[in-house]
């Protein structure tokens, strides 16, 4: 993998996709399929979560197996604040982001001392700790999770309306993707990608590798927290299963399908995976066999993901 460079072709594709997504609610209302507006919000939220993990794994080269902890932390922050009477998105969402970032700082500062397999395992262990801690705290819902009985309020916007909420999610994701694209081409982005390529060399060149990795890890965690804050608003429930290691695995599956180390990889993967789930589950309850086989095929024969297969994800060098 070289350094990430986006082509004009991909920017055009992204703009067209954005336009199509802007028209989606109108289309769905016309078809009397309001359900799919809400569903699309969900897909975009997972796209955001997968994108945040792609920053950590795909760009930073840190194979974190505990990303769900940050996703869940964001969701729980919003739900807990709502429990305490704080419903303002302007307050709750940045706080969710901050809590997830803080957690990532804590976990990252310890985990980044280890390498390779041990890093994978220690991030997993920390995520499990957070999982069991949440499960144990009855006042935060324990096993049952914490209900969010009404969505956050956002100025004069009515987030209870699925379409309005959808546009808020879409705007958030678009901004994050724009920022990530800028980041990938910035000096920081180049540094973390080079660390992914050859960490010891970066150290020998005088880069404080640990700090760069930690900052990258924290940004990824913070964005996952933002995704969690959105998700709890979409679904109305902060569930401990959001923190489960299978959730971390699912996010990984998304970015590998979509393309590791590509700005749009997380989006492509989340959309593909959730659409498959939505439509194939009605065809056969055993559709996960198909998913497993596709995933195997991607890993064995298309390491750049589906996006890479079609050249969406990265410029050809």
């Amino acid at each position: 993998m070289g350094l990430y460079a986006s082509s004009p072709r991909r920017r055009v594709a992204a703009a067209i996709t954005l336009l199509a997504l802007l028209a989606l609610p109108w289309l769905m209302q016309t078809l009397d399929q309001g359900f799919y507006v809400s569903f699309a919000s969900r897909v975009l939220i997972f796209a955001l979560a997968a994108t945040s993990l792609n920053l950590v794994i795909g760009f930073g080269g840190m194979i974190s197996f505990g990303h769900a902890a940050f996703f869940g932390a964001g969701a729980y922050t919003v739900a807990i604040l709502a429990e305490g009477g704080v419903h303002s998105a302007a307050l709750a969402w940045p706080l969710a982001l901050a809590v997830a970032a803080l957690l990532a700082l804590l976990i990252g500062a310890i985990s980044l001392r280890t390498r390779g397999v041990y890093f994978i395992m220690i991030t997993l262990a920390f995520a499990q700790m957070v999982f069991y801690l949440i499960v144990s705290l009855k006042s935060w819902g324990g096993d049952d999770g914490l209900l969010l009985l009404r969505r956050s309020t956002f100025g004069s916007l009515d987030l209870k309306d699925d379409t309005t909420f959808y546009f808020v999610v879409l705007a958030t994701l678009a901004l994050v993707l724009l920022a990530l694209d800028r980041l990938a081409h910035s000096r920081f982005g180049r540094v973390i990608q080079s660390i992914r390529e050859n960490e010891t060399r970066m150290e020998a060149l005088g880069y404080p590798v640990f700090s760069y990795k930690l900052v990258c890890f924290v940004i990824g965690g913070a964005l996952a927290g933002l995704a969690g804050a959105l998700l709890v608003n979409q679904s109305g429930l902060a569930s401990p299963n959001l923190l489960h290691w299978m959730q971390s695995g699912t996010l990984m599956v998304m970015i590998v399908i979509g393309g590791v180390g590509s700005v749009f990889g997380g989006v492509v993967g989340a959309v593909l995976l959730l659409l498959c789930e939505e439509f194939f589950v009605e065809i056969s309850p055993h559709w996960q066999i198909g998913l497993g086989l596709v995933l195997l095929a991607v890993v064995l024969w298309a390491p750049l993901g589906i996006a890479g297969l079609f050249g969406w994800g990265r410029s050809r060098e």
Partner: protein, 392 residues
């Protein structure tokens, strides 16, 4: 250009989907959401079979309209259940929902269902919240309030003079209701309340703790496979010679007996001890099911059976005008059917008022291990929360 093409494909798929739902009020659509996989699956499957049996006996109709029952597994995960419920409400646009076994799932799903003005007919989950302050015109329960069976056990344990009891339940709303219900009528010493993880299967540590506490009775509420394992391990640990085991009715249903009954009857032989396994329940078994499906004539399917009959009667009453929510609610409250397990009537919080009986596991005339009904614990018993319910 590829992404736009994708979107177009998606749009056509949806178009195909819409045409199916064009016809309205000529059928009754029921969203059946239940736990059909994992250790808690036994109850969900029983309820589903009971519900389907009723629909089958009604020639595939509910209230004279063709019935469409959409069955989906919630995997015993609240967030999965929520997504399915959202789909039921917004995409399938179901007229009724039913099926949920576990109260934590009920609580996660309830609000959106009620907000959507869709009637939920509970065949099992009866959380205290929906009986009391959060009672809702769109929620009906044909089984019981969670506490009720546990109250009956508590009363019986109290009456029989047990002095030192250990309580075991999973750490979720149903489990907490169980402990509260038991203690409402049992006033003796509770030496320990053990909360286990929902879905836990190995109880070695808890059993060792029970052994050290030396209680004269253990009350456990562990639905499905959890209960099977608990009883098996309880017997294997040799605790059954000194301690009596009590459980609410569904923990001693026929499939549970099939799994562990042999051992339980073995330990109730005169030589090894005094253990009998006593379980209160409501009413008689479902009489007709054995002929129609493989379902044994036991208790849990009757809950699903009753849920279907309740819908049937109400739809018939409003003559298929399912949009008239007010009329439909009145028809449901009127309850135009007689329950197979002995009759009940709805309280003001839409929970049943009914009798509770005691069963003991023993051998029947043919020497098979089964449940025997011993006597009545409560007559026309209501739940403890109805006073807090201000139904709008």
């Amino acid at each position: 250009m590829r992404p736009t093409k994708c979107l177009f494909a998606l749009a056509t798929l949806l178009l195909l989907g819409t045409s199916v739902h064009a016809a309205e009020a000529t059928s009754v659509k029921v969203g059946f959401l239940s736990t059909l996989s994992g250790p808690g699956a036994g109850l969900g499957i029983d309820i589903r079979d009971g519900f389907n049996l009723a629909v089958k006996q009604l020639n595939g109709k509910l209230g004279g309209l063709p019935a469409e029952v959409i069955v989906v597994d919630d995997q015993q995960k609240p967030e999965v259940a929520q997504q399915i419920a959202e789909k039921f409400l917004k995409k399938d646009k179901v007229d009724f929902m039913t099926g949920i076994v576990f109260s934590n799932i009920m609580l996660a799903v309830g609000q959106p269902v009620f907000d959507n003005k869709t009637f939920y007919i509970s065949a099992n989950a009866g959380p205290s919240q929906y009986a009391g302050e959060q009672c809702n015109p769109y929620f009906f329960n044909v089984a019981w309030q969670n506490d009720n069976l546990h109250e009956a056990v508590g009363k019986y344990v109290m009456d029989k003079g047990f002095k030192n009891v250990v309580l075991v339940a999973p750490n979720y709303p149903g489990g907490k209701d169980a402990m509260v219900g038991f203690k409402r009528f049992y006033k003796g010493k509770v030496s320990e309340e053990i909360y286990t993880k929902l879905g836990q299967l190995d109880y070695a540590a808890e059993l060792a703790q029970i052994r050290s506490l030396k209680p004269d009775a253990v009350f456990f509420f562990l639905p499905g496979g959890m209960g099977i394992n608990f009883v098996k391990q309880f017997v294997a640990a040799g605790l059954s010679s000194d301690t009596q085991l009590f459980a609410p009715g569904f923990s001693a249903d026929e499939d549970v007996i099939k799994a562990v009954g042999r051992r339980c009857s073995a330990c109730s032989t005169p030589r090894t001890g005094r253990t009998t396994w006593r379980t209160p329940r409501t009413g008689a078994s479902l009489p007709t099911s054995r002929r129609n499906t493989d379902v044994c004539p036991h208790f849990t399917p009757s809950q699903g059976f009753d849920a279907a009959l309740l819908i049937d009667g109400a739809v018939r009453d409003v003559k298929g005008r399912l949009d008239d929510k007010e009329a439909l609610r009145k028809a449901l409250e009127a309850k135009h059917f007689k329950s197979v397990r002995g009759d009940f009537k709805f309280n003001s919080n839409h929970y049943p008022v009914q009798n509770y009986y005691l069963r003991v596991i023993g051998r029947d005339a043919q020497g098979r291990v089964t449940n025997k009904t011993m006597g009545t614990v409560f007559t026309n018993h209501a739940d403890a929360y109805v006073a807090q319910c201000k139904m709008k």
